[in-house]
C-alpha cells in the first residue's frame, strides 16, 4: 500500500515551482502594473495577468529608505509578495506614488516628536508630554529595558508601555531645554 501512496501524492514539480517563484525579485513599475483606489480606502492592483482587489504596501527599509524597495503583497494573512517597486519616486506616476504613500502612512504609525514639553520621572517610569507631527500626545515608558533605542547617535526610537513608537529624528534639532529633559536617555 505504501508504494502507491508515494506515487500519487504531492506534486514535487509544483512545490519546486513555488520555491522558485519565492526566489525571484519581481519588479513592478508604471509599465506592468496599475494601482487604483478602492471605495473602502485601500488600493487594488492589476498586473499583466491578474487582478488583486486589495493589496498591502510594505516598506522594506522603513528607517533608512522609506520609498525604496516597496513590497506589494496580497491582502490575506499569508501576505504573499506580488512584486517590488524599486523606487517609488521614479518608477510610478505621481498619482500612484500618492496613493501608495497614503497606504504606507496608514500602515506605519511612528509619530515624530517635534517638541518635548515635559518629561517626568516617577518610580521606574518616565512620563512624556510631547507634540508630534500627529498632534500633542502623552505617553509612558519603562525606565529600565530597551524603551529608548538609538538608531544612530542622534536618532532615537522610543517605545511606550503600549508598544507605540515615537521617533526623534535628530536630537541636535532640539533646544537645550528639551535636551536636558530627555538627557537621561541620550
Amino acid at each position: 500500500m505504501e508504494q502507491d501512496l508515494y506515487a500519487e501524492e504531492f506534486d514535487l514539480e509544483q512545490m519546486e515551482a513555488e520555491t522558485e517563484a519565492m526566489l525571484a525579485l519581481n519588479y513592478l513599475d508604471r509599465n506592468n502594473s496599475t494601482f487604483r483606489r478602492t471605495p473602502g480606502g485601500f488600493v487594488s492592483l492589476d498586473t499583466e495577468d491578474k487582478h488583486y482587489a486589495r493589496v498591502q504596501v510594505f516598506r522594506t527599509f522603513p528607517f533608512t529608505g522609506k520609498n525604496l524597495y516597496i513590497s506589494i503583497r496580497e491582502a490575506d494573512e499569508k501576505a504573499r509578495e506580488i512584486g517590488i517597486i524599486h523606487d517609488l519616486d521614479q518608477d510610478v506616476d505621481e498619482e500612484t506614488r500618492q496613493m501608495l504613500t497614503e497606504q504606507m502612512e496608514l500602515r506605519y504609525f511612528t509619530p515624530i516628536i517635534k517638541k518635548v514639553k515635559n518629561v517626568k520621572e516617577e518610580y521606574g517610569f518616565a512620563y512624556f508630554d510631547v507634540v508630534t507631527d500627529h498632534g500633542p500626545c502623552r505617553f509612558a515608558i519603562h525606565m529600565s529595558g530597551n524603551a529608548v533605542v538609538h538608531l544612530t547617535d542622534t536618532r532615537l526610537l522610543i517605545t511606550d508601555l503600549d508598544e507605540n513608537r515615537f521617533e526623534i529624528p535628530d536630537t541636535r534639532k532640539l533646544s537645550n531645554k528639551e535636551l536636558k529633559k530627555i538627557g537621561l536617555f541620550l
Binding site: Y6, F10, G40, F42, A53, Y108, F109, H134, N164, G183
Partner: protein
C-alpha cells in the same frame, strides 16, 4: 479591559437608540482620518448597528445585517478596524487606533462577528490596561491603579494581614518609644553634669563617677534597645513576608491554569520572591525607624522649646530648606548614576555580543573593527564614570556643609546667648546635640516616600494575585468515587478566550478501556481536548460526562488522582527518582515503585545508575537522557493505577531505540485503561482502537486506521505527507 466604555453625554446625543437596541461594545479610538491624534472618537457596537464617531461626528453607520465581516487588522504599531459590506463585497477601514486600543478593538471585532453569526455569547478581554485610564500612571501589572483606587483598600487588607502580629507590632513600637526616650535623656544628664558639676565650682569626684555610671548605663541600654529593635523588626518583617509568600504560593497553586498562562513565569516568581521581600525590607528598614525618628524629633523639639523657644524656631526654619536641598541633590545623583548604569549596560552588552559571536567576528576578519567599536563604547562609559566621581567628590562635602548650616547658625546665636548669660554652657551643648538629632535623619527621610510607594506597589501586586478567584472549584456537594473510564462529550464548546473558539460542538463517546488516538495539524485543539478531560479548564458550553456524571460534580482532588498523565515536556522535580515517582502516590511501597518502573522499561537503567532509585535528578543532579526522563514520567503516571490515561505526544523527539522501548511500555500501560493519546508520529497510534481527526474546531473524521485511510480524507493526507517526508529524508 473594559469593552463597553462609558460614553460621554455629547457622544450619546449624536444618535438615537431604537426600541430594544442597546450598546454592547464601545471603545474610544485615538487616530482620525487625517492621521492626527484625537480624543473624542468612539467605535460603538449595538446589537443592531456599528457606529463610528470621529471628532464628535458620525462618520460611518451600518446595520450589522449589511456587513459580512468585521476585523481588527494590526498594522505597524497601530491598528485599523476593517468591515466588509455585503452588497459590494468591499473591505473598508472605518477606524484607526494606536496600540493602546488595539486589544480592545480586536475583542470588539470578535464580538461583532459573533453577533453577526447570531451567537449570544459576549466577548471578554482579560488583558490589563498598561496605564491607568484615570491618572495616566503606569500600572505595575495590576488591574487597579495603586495610586488612584487601591491605596486605602490595599492598606486595609495589609493591616488585616498584620493583625496576626499585633503583639510583635506593640513590642516594636514600645521598644522604639523606649529607645527614643533613652536617646533624649542623654543630653539632659550631660547638661546637668556640665552646669551643676563642672562649672558650678563645687563639683566633686563622686559626682563625676555618678555621671560616668549614668552615661554607661544609657549607652548599654541604648545598645540593648538597638539590638532588640533590629531583632524584633527583622522577625516581624520575615514573619509577614513568609505569610505573604505562603498565601501567594497557595493561591497560585489553586488558580486556574489560564491565570498563570496569561502571565510570564518570571512575573509570578517575582511576585512571590521580590514583592514579599520588598515588604520585609520595608518592615525592617523603614517601619521601625519611622516611629523611632518621629518620636525622637518630636521629643527633641519639645525639650528644645523648654530651653530656648527662639533658638528652636530658628533651627526648625532651616529644616525644610535642608530637606528640599537634599531631595534635589538626590535627584541629580540619581539621574547621573542612572546614566552611568545605562552606559554600563551598553558596555556589557557590547562585550557579550562580541564574545558570544567571536567565531563570526574572526571568520569575517573583523577583529580590528570590533575592537574599535568596543573602545568607543568603553570610552563613553569611562568618561561618565569619571565625571560622576568628580561630581560626587565635589558636591557631597558641599551638600553636607549646606545641610549643616542650620547647626552653625544655632551654634553662633546660642554662643551669643551663652556669652550674655541667658543660656548656660551645658544648655548650649544640650541644644546643639538635639539640633543634630533633627538634621541627622534628613537624608534618610528623603528616601521614605519612595520606600512607601515601593511597598504599596508590591502590596498591590501581591493582592492582585491573592484576590483572584479560581475559575474551577468543587461543586457544592462534590462526588468522590472510583471512576471506570467512560467519557462522553456532549456538544462541548470551548475557547481559552471567549472570542476564540478552539473546540466547537464536539460530540464523542469513549468506552471504558478504549484507546483513542487524537490526530490533527498543530493548533487545531488536540491538547485542548485533553485539557478538558483532565479538567484543567471548564467547558464553555455543553457537557463532559465521566461514567455518566458531569465532570464538574466530581471532587477535583479525587478526580485528578485517578488520571495518569504523560506530557511531551517531561517535567521531573529536582529530587530523587524515588520521590519523583512517589509524587503520584506518596505512600507507594518499594515493590510498587519497582513494578511501575519495570512496566515503563525504566527499572534497568535506574539500576545501572550508581545511586539506583535514590539518584538525584534535576538541574544539579544526574544527567538523564530525554528517553530516560520520559520513562520515569511514564512510571510515575502508572504508579497510581489510573483508570484514565492521557498521553500528549509522549513519544515525540526520541531516538528510535528509546521510542521502541517506550512504545512497548505504553502498550502494556494502555491495556484495560481508557487512553487518550496525541501523537505526532502517526505510527505510534497504529494500535489505537479508534482515531479522531480534529480540524476546523470540530471532529472531522473518526474511525480505525484502515477505515480512515479508505475515506481518503484528512488522515489519509497526513499519513501520505509523513511518508513523503520520510522518503525525502531517506533520499537525502
Amino acid at each position: 479591559m473594559e469593552l463597553n466604555v462609558k460614553l460621554p453625554q455629547e457622544i450619546l446625543s449624536l444618535f438615537q437608540l431604537r426600541d430594544k437596541e442597546e450598546i454592547r461594545y464601545s471603545s474610544p479610538f485615538d487616530i482620525n482620518r487625517q492621521g492626527q491624534f484625537t480624543n473624542s472618537s468612539y467605535g460603538i457596537l449595538t446589537n443592531n448597528r456599528l457606529i463610528i464617531v470621529e471628532d464628535r461626528q458620525i462618520v460611518y453607520e451600518k446595520e450589522l445585517a449589511e456587513l459580512s465581516a468585521m476585523k481588527c487588522e494590526s498594522q505597524v504599531n497601530s491598528g485599523i478596524l476593517v468591515v466588509t459590506e455585503k452588497d459590494t463585497d468591499t473591505a473598508r477601514h472605518v477606524a484607526r487606533f494606536s496600540m493602546k486600543q488595539i486589544s480592545r478593538f480586536a475583542s470588539i471585532a470578535k464580538g461583532g462577528m459573533l453577533m453577526m453569526e447570531g451567537s449570544r455569547r459576549t466577548v471578554e478581554n482579560r488583558e490589563y490596561e498598561k496605564t491607568c485610564p484615570k491618572c495616566g500612571r503606569a500600572l505595575p501589572g495590576t488591574r487597579v491603579c495603586p495610586k488612584c483606587e487601591g491605596k486605602h483598600v490595599t492598606l486595609m487588607k495589609f493591616v488585616r494581614l498584620c493583625s496576626n502580629y499585633k503583639r510583635q507590632f506593640l513590642q516594636v513600637a514600645l521598644m522604639m518609644l523606649f529607645a527614643s526616650a533613652i536617646n533624649l535623656a542623654g543630653p539632659i544628664f550631660q547638661q546637668r553634669f556640665i552646669d551643676d558639676t563642672l562649672l558650678s565650682g563645687h563639683g566633686n569626684v563622686p559626682a563625676v563617677i555618678r555621671f560616668i555610671l549614668i552615661m554607661a548605663v544609657i549607652t548599654v541600654l541604648s545598645i540593648i534597645t538597638r539590638y532588640l529593635r533590629s531583632l524584633w523588626s527583622a522577625k516581624l518583617g520575615a514573619g509577614i513576608s513568609m505569610d505573604i509568600r505562603e498565601k501567594l504560593y497557595h493561591r497560585i497553586q489553586i488558580l486556574t491554569l489560564s491565570f498563570i498562562q496569561d502571565r510570564r513565569p518570571g512575573e509570578l516568581m517575582n511576585r512571590i520572591n521580590n514583592d514579599s521581600a520588598n515588604i520585609r525590607k520595608f518592615m525592617e528598614d523603614a517601619f521601625g525607624s519611622i516611629f523611632y525618628q518621629i518620636v525622637l524629633m518630636l521629643g527633641a523639639i519639645i525639650v528644645m522649646l523648654t530651653i530656648s523657644p527662639g533658638l528652636t524656631l530658628l533651627s526648625i526654619v532651616f529644616l525644610p530648606l535642608a530637606f528640599s536641598l537634599s531631595v534635589g541633590f538626590r535627584k541629580v545623583i540619581h539621574r547621573r548614576f542612572h546614566m552611568q548604569s545605562k552606559k554600563g549596560d551598553d558596555n556589557n552588552s557590547a562585550l557579550q555580543d562580541v564574545i558570544s559571536g567571536i567565531r563570526v567576528v574572526k571568520s569575517f576578519g573583523k577583529e580590528q573593527y570590533e575592537s574599535e567599536r568596543f573602545k568607543a563604547v568603553s570610552q563613553t562609559y569611562a568618561n561618565i564614570q569619571k565625571n560622576n566621581e568628580v561630581f560626587w567628590a565635589a558636591f557631597y562635602p558641599m551638600l553636607t556643609f549646606i545641610m549643616g548650616m542650620g547647626i552653625y547658625f544655632v551654634t553662633a546665636l546660642g554662643g551669643f546667648k551663652a556669652l550674655d548669660g541667658s543660656l548656660s554652657l551645658g544648655q548650649l551643648l544640650q541644644f546643639i546635640t538635639y539640633a543634630t538629632m533633627l538634621y541627622g535623619p534628613l537624608g534618610w527621610m528623603t528616601h521614605l516616600p519612595r520606600m512607601i510607594v515601593q511597598m504599596l506597589t508590591s502590596l498591590e501586586r501581591i493582592y492582585d494575585v491573592l484576590d483572584e478567584q479560581p475559575k474551577i472549584h468543587n461543586a457544592e456537594h462534590p462526588i468522590s468515587r472510583e471512576i471506570k473510564g467512560d467519557v462522553v462529550f456532549k456538544d462541548v464548546c470551548f475557547g481559552y478566550r471567549s472570542y476564540e473558539t478552539v473546540l466547537d460542538k464536539i460530540n464523542f463517546e469513549i468506552k471504558k478501556g478504549e484507546m483513542i488516538g487524537i490526530v490533527g495539524a498543530s493548533g487545531t485543539g488536540k491538547s485542548t481536548l485533553i485539557n478538558l478531560v483532565m479538567h484543567l479548564y471548564d467547558v464553555d458550553d455543553g457537557e463532559l460526562l465521566i461514567d455518566g456524571i458531569n465532570i464538574n460534580d466530581y471532587r477535583l482532588e479525587d478526580f485528578h488522582r485517578q488520571i495518569g498523565v504523560v506530557l511531551q515536556e517531561t517535567f521531573l522535580f529536582s529530587d530523587t527518582i524515588l520521590n519523583n515517582m512517589r509524587f503520584a502516590k506518596p505512600d507507594a511501597t518499594y515493590e510498587e515503585i519497582i513494578r511501575a518502573a519495570k512496566m515503563a522499561n525504566a527499572h534497568d537503567f535506574i539500576c545501572k545508575t550508581p545511586n539506583g532509585y535514590n539518584t538525584y535528578v534535576g538541574e544539579k543532579g544526574f544527567n538523564l537522557s530525554g528517553g530516560e526522563r520520559q520513562r520515569i514520567a511514564i512510571a510515575r503516571a502508572i504508579l497510581n493505577d489510573p483508570k484514565l490515561l492521557i498521553l500528549d505526544e509522549a513519544t515525540s523527539s526520541l531516538d528510535t531505540e528509546s521510542e521502541y522501548l517506550i512504545q512497548k511500555a505504553l502498550q502494556r500501560l494502555t491495556a484495560g485503561r481508557t487512553t487518550l493519546a496525541i501523537a505526532h508520529r502517526l505510527s505510534t497510534l497504529k494500535d489505537a482502537d479508534r482515531l479522531i481527526v480534529i480540524d476546523g474546531h470540530k471532529i472531522a473524521e473518526c474511525g480505525t486506521h484502515n477505515e480512515l485511510l479508505e475515506q481518503k480524507g484528512i488522515y489519509y493526507q497526513l499519513v501520505t505527507a509523513q511518508l513523503q517526508m520520510q522518503t525525502l529524508k531517506e533520499d537525502a
